[in-house]
């Protein structure tokens, strides 16, 4: 219950960040917020005061347009002041529409163009193995992102090189069903040689259990069934909200949805 209150507070911060700049992908952020919260709250070994520490776990938000969820969680965990969210997407803000590793403490990779984060994560996982670093790499991709060939190139590579230190989380909110039906994504990853499971992407216990399970001889794929815009009824599975912000006038009623 406490956690749900916390999640709703972050959702309100996310919505408020979009209003001044009339910019942001709110439903995409809400789709992944529970996953990111569990990752940063319970799973990732990373010190916000020393985010470049060599033995940290690495996280890449490959679906970069979900950036607001990452920003809200990073701020909550102390990587940078929460006040930065108020400057979201303004001219000289560190927080843009997509995450930038050269500007934001705690961001490992600059993403936004889909299909780049997972292969970068494969490279990080290989690099950590070469260097003898025993931490783990987590990459979150979108289901629409799984249309990209580079995702499946990476799936082949990670399995071939037995990257047991790599976990790929798929945000399966079905927003891309209108274009390409992906079907059973866990089965697809399994057939590529991954240890794969499907969970409820808004159930914190299920997310945690899936994130801590891994095999020693293969990478892990977690297919998280999610709802785009989760928790805010007018936005849920509503394409009109994909890339849009509430007006000042609409803000109170939208925030009310989260109460």
């Amino acid at each position: 219950m406490v956690t749900q209150v916390q999640i709703n507070r972050l959702k309100k911060q996310i919505i408020k960040a979009t209003v001044p700049v009339e910019e942001g992908h709110i439903p995409s952020a809400f789709s992944i917020l529970d996953i990111l919260w569990v990752l940063y709250d319970q799973v990732l070994h990373i010190d916000p005061s020393n985010p470049k520490n060599d033995d940290r776990d690495r996280f890449i938000l490959s679906k970069g347009h979900g950036a607001l969820a990452l920003y809200a969680v990073l701020a909550e965990k102390g990587f940078f002041p929460t006040s930065e969210l108020e400057r979201f997407a303004t001219f000289n803000s560190i927080l843009g529409g997509h995450p930038d590793r050269n500007k934001i403490p705690g961001v490992e990779a600059s993403t936004g163009s889909l299909g780049h984060g997972l292969p970068m994560g494969v490279g990080m996982a290989m690099g950590m193995r070469i260097r003898g670093v025993s931490s783990n790499v987590y990459v979150l991709v979108g289901d629409a992102e799984c249309n990209e060939g580079s995702i499946w190139e990476s799936a082949l590579l990670a399995a071939h090189h037995k990257l047991s230190n790599l976990t790929c989380i798929v945000d399966y909110n079905h927003s891309t069903d209108r274009a390409l039906l992906l079907g059973d994504i866990a089965l697809k990853f399994s057939s590529f040689g991954w240890f794969a499971s499907t969970i409820d992407g808004h159930d914190h216990d299920a997310i945690y259990d899936a994130l801590i399970k891994r095999k020693t001889d293969r990478p892990t794929a977690i297919i998280a069934e999610t709802v785009k815009g989760h928790g805010c009824k007018p936005m849920e599975n509503n394409p009109a909200w994909h890339h849009g912000a509430p007006t000042h006038e609409d803000l109170p009623s939208i925030l009310e949805e989260l109460s």
Partner: protein, 294 residues
């Protein structure tokens, strides 16, 4: 140059544990010793250039120095956005080494030609571009630039100049002094230029680094304001750099290189040279023409 590439990289892998070799299923036999000696740092990634390039960025984020290798169209054009975002935008060290310059693989047809690599790579901020004209020059240039924290493209050619020069990364070399025109020769086109103009009163500047551009050497060696630009890829790439360097002067430039069209014939490289006018006699004609021009 390919043999030298293997020797240079294998030698560096012995000295520098940060070096990681990534092959796009090209040159695997040539690098057999690297695979044997450094199995943890030599990978045949397969034919997936997009993932290979992003993967290289991931390795670089971990402090390693990847060397990516494939045929030019596949390691440049196929994965252009990965070069742009993952390597250049993120300011990551990586070395991209291509074979099959322009129409080196003439008989294989246009899928394996890549005369457009330099023009598109020059559009990427931060991408360093190196075009050696001789195997020994590759060795010198790679050793000096491979670990300088920027993405660097090394363009290997099947062709080589007869002589090698003591070239330096980022610097042009004066091959011949003269007053009536300045000839800029890039990489393996130098031999043709020397044959064409050796008895003319012209200056020949030899560029093996295209980006960053050595403006100083050009500025100091172009009194005539008449320039013949000789590039072994789509012609005219260096014109912007030349104008930026000499912009305040009145200059005339004649650009000679590969024309911007598909070379749909097969055969030998030399046959294409003749077909598109990359011959010593045509080069001489162009140079004499610009000397005569007012």
């Amino acid at each position: 140059m390919r043999r030298q590439f293997v020797k240079t990289v294998e030698s560096l892998m012995a000295k520098d544990e940060r070096l990681v070799l990534l092959l796009g299923d090209i040159g695997v036999f040539g690098f057999r010793n690297a695979f044997k000696q450094y199995p943890e740092r030599a990978y045949n990634i397969g034919i997936c250039e997009q993932a290979m390039t992003s993967l290289a960025a991931g390795l670089s984020m971990e402090g390693l120095i990847p060397v990516l290798h494939s045929i030019a169209p596949f390691v440049v054009e196929r994965c252009y956005e990965q070069l742009k975002i993952d390597l250049c935008y993120q300011h990551l060290a990586a070395n991209i080494v291509s074979v099959g310059a322009s129409y080196d693989y003439a008989a294989l047809g246009c899928t394996h030609h890549c005369p457009g690599d330099i023009s598109i790579l020059q559009a990427l901020p931060g991408m360093q571009i190196v075009i050696p004209g001789h195997a020994s020059e590759f060795d010198r240039l790679f050793n000096s630039a491979y670990s300088n924290s920027s993405p660097t493209y090394f363009r290997l050619s099947e062709r080589s100049n007869q002589e090698n020069y003591d070239v330096e990364f980022g610097k042009a070399r004066i091959i011949k002094s003269g007053d009536k025109a300045t000839i800029i020769a890039v990489g393996s086109i130098l031999d043709m230029v020397i044959e064409a103009v050796q008895d003319l009163d012209v200056c020949v500047l030899y560029y093996t680094t295209v980006s960053p551009f050595d403006d100083y050497t050009l500025r100091e060696n172009c009194k005539s304001g008449k320039i013949v630009l000789m590039e072994p890829y789509y012609s005219g790439n260096m014109i912007n750099d030349i104008h930026a360097t000499l912009g305040e002067k009145s200059i005339s430039i004649k650009s000679v290189g590969v024309p911007n069209k598909f070379l749909t014939d097969y055969g030998k490289v030399e046959e294409h040279d003749v077909s598109i006018g990359l011959t010593p006699s045509n080069v001489r004609k162009q140079v004499e023409g610009i000397i005569r021009a007012r």
